[in-house]
Symmetry: C2
Subunit: 336 residues, 2 copies
């Protein structure tokens, strides 16, 4: 199983490490021997059709800041021209253009490669077009790491929908906002102080706009709703209200009455993102950098999934899960 | 898709109703047109190779207490001799002998039928033998309704395990015990009063032994641990302590210190069932007739699933999910 890895940041490196750590297990349990034949990122690229030394590549990235040589060709072209079965797309997310992930995915599909990605950008701007391209080229597209990090929220939603109907979805899809709101609640911190702490602890970006203004949640909600066939809405159709500047007195007041303010994504009549007061006993009302989603099903009632929504090793485990699912689809011999 | 339904109690009837309610959806979304060609239970049986009228069968069951004529042949023989692709096994559970489900499943496998069951009995007494028989006959065995009712606990565990390693499992697998403990906690009720209430509201059987002594939880834990490849233990190897006669003062004391007593199933170093004091903020610490399971994963951390653990429509939705999964396995044209 030959793999091209695009993006060698936190998630890409975690994925490479996971391949090393799990190699014996992958061979014995799934009959899969992954071979990383190319690593490409914005800085450089290394290629070896026989399989790269992952350990060497990781070490090089850590010492030099990039792998291999500066790119002569553009990344999409390297992806198209490298012989492999799967592209793992883990480059940084751009919600506005979807790039560079969008071009990477197109190049992979055009050269008949399956795509596994955790990049929300291309899905935010071209969800149905990407599916159409995959189908047209007879390959698969998987993206479970795009929603919920390592927590299999999309898989779980599909399990809920098969044999039942999902009536509504409510949940927390952004761990950064949840960390901030939990801090404000526990310590009576102001929004600004809680945000600074989130940045210090690595939960929030230097530019936290996409998280705190609700845009990241909205994109994930759109991916989930489209994936589950609940809606064909795009991000423009989501009513979005974020948590920027939320009053700490409001947060503390909620706590004192046995409730909590959370940034809640809802798919029921339309899609929306909004700070919402929840009963503390509601299982969706988790604290800290977690995600939680409730699928309300017609016959089997409410079902909730909770887990970490981000992180390198977490998201890498989703990439590996998707890779095994794709492998399962073209190899009936797996024993998963 | 021709189906034999064995067992026409609460779950069997709910499943039949679900087939009627979802028929248009099954055809359009999955290309599946299920045809119920036989309903057999301990009281009687009806057969029609062209497909039974489900509505008529449900009405007959409700008015006469059984469907069709009293059985001339034994049920296993009817299962073996009826032409069909799938057996849905929903007869009552017997943990000691596995019967009658065990014989039904053997008859189905011998006649090359896939089996979908929510019956814990045959899995408790012959988990690996049943898998072996299915494999030997080239058919599938699915049983997601056996653990968690309509909540896809086994599917979720598999999602967690793919791409990661499950380090430990802790959870609440018996809704009856959880209802009783929640009542004791909320109202200060004694164990006996809470049990009576659970019986009155239909959560506990007239003979509640299997629930309150932890045996039902132990069987589910064994099914889950074997399914996920965490253990090959049988029920005899589970350390079991139930909640019978638990002191209400102990329950109330836990509440007063921000904790709660729950009957917890654990798979880590061996398997055990035991009343355990949990932090109320632990997401596994749900109240009422719910199940909750936490899978602790090596790379992606803890992940929790919560949902109703029993009930007719709930369990029926699991049977339908399994049926669609089997259908998917022998029909690549599905669009699920």
């Amino acid at each position: 199983l030959r793999i091209v890895l695009a993006g060698f940041g936190v998630v890409g490196q975690s994925f490479a490490e996971l391949l090393v750590l799990k190699s014996a297990d992958l061979a014995s349990r799934y009959g899969v021997v992954p071979r990383l034949v190319a690593i490409v990122d914005s800085e450089g690229s290394v290629l070896d059709g026989r399989g790269l030394s992952i350990k060497k590549a990781l070490q090089e990235k850590r010492t030099k800041g990039r792998v291999g040589d500066r790119n002569g060709r553009d990344t999409a072209r390297i992806i198209a021209e490298t012989e492999a079965e799967v592209l793992i797309e883990a480059t940084p997310t751009n919600f506005r253009t979807g790039e560079p992930g969008l071009s990477h995915m197109k190049a992979a599909f055009a050269s008949k490669k399956h795509v596994v990605t955790c990049n929300k950008g291309p899905l935010a701007v071209a969800f149905h077009a990407m599916h159409e391209l995959a189908r047209h080229n007879g390959v698969q597209l998987r993206y479970s790491g795009a929603v919920g990090g390592g927590t299999p929220i999309l898989d779980f939603g599909q399990s809920c929908a098969r044999g039942d109907d999902i009536v509504s979805v409510t949940g927390i899809l952004n761990g950064t906002c949840n960390f901030i709101l939990s801090k404000m609640e526990q310590d009576g911190a102001t929004f600004d102080d809680a945000l600074k702490l989130a940045q210090k602890e690595g939960y929030a970006e230097a530019d936290p706009t996409l998280d705190i203004d609700g845009y990241d949640s909205a994109v994930k909600l759109v991916i989930m709703a489209n994936h589950l066939g609940l809606s064909r809405a795009t991000v423009k159709e989501v009513k979005i209200k974020g948590i920027r500047g939320i009053d700490s007195r409001e947060v503390v007041r909620a706590r004192e009455s046995g409730r909590a303010i959370r940034l809640i994504a809802t798919a029921e009549h339309g899609l929306s993102i909004s700070p919402t007061s929840l009963d503390r006993n509601d299982p969706v009302c988790v604290s800290g950098a977690y995600n939680a989603v409730k699928f309300h099903c017609r016959f089997s009632g409410p079902k909730v999934i909770i887990g970490k929504g981000a992180g390198g090793p977490e998201t890498a485990s989703s990439l590996l899960r998707d890779l095994l699912d794709i492998r399962g689809a073209f190899n009936e011999g797996v024993t998963a």
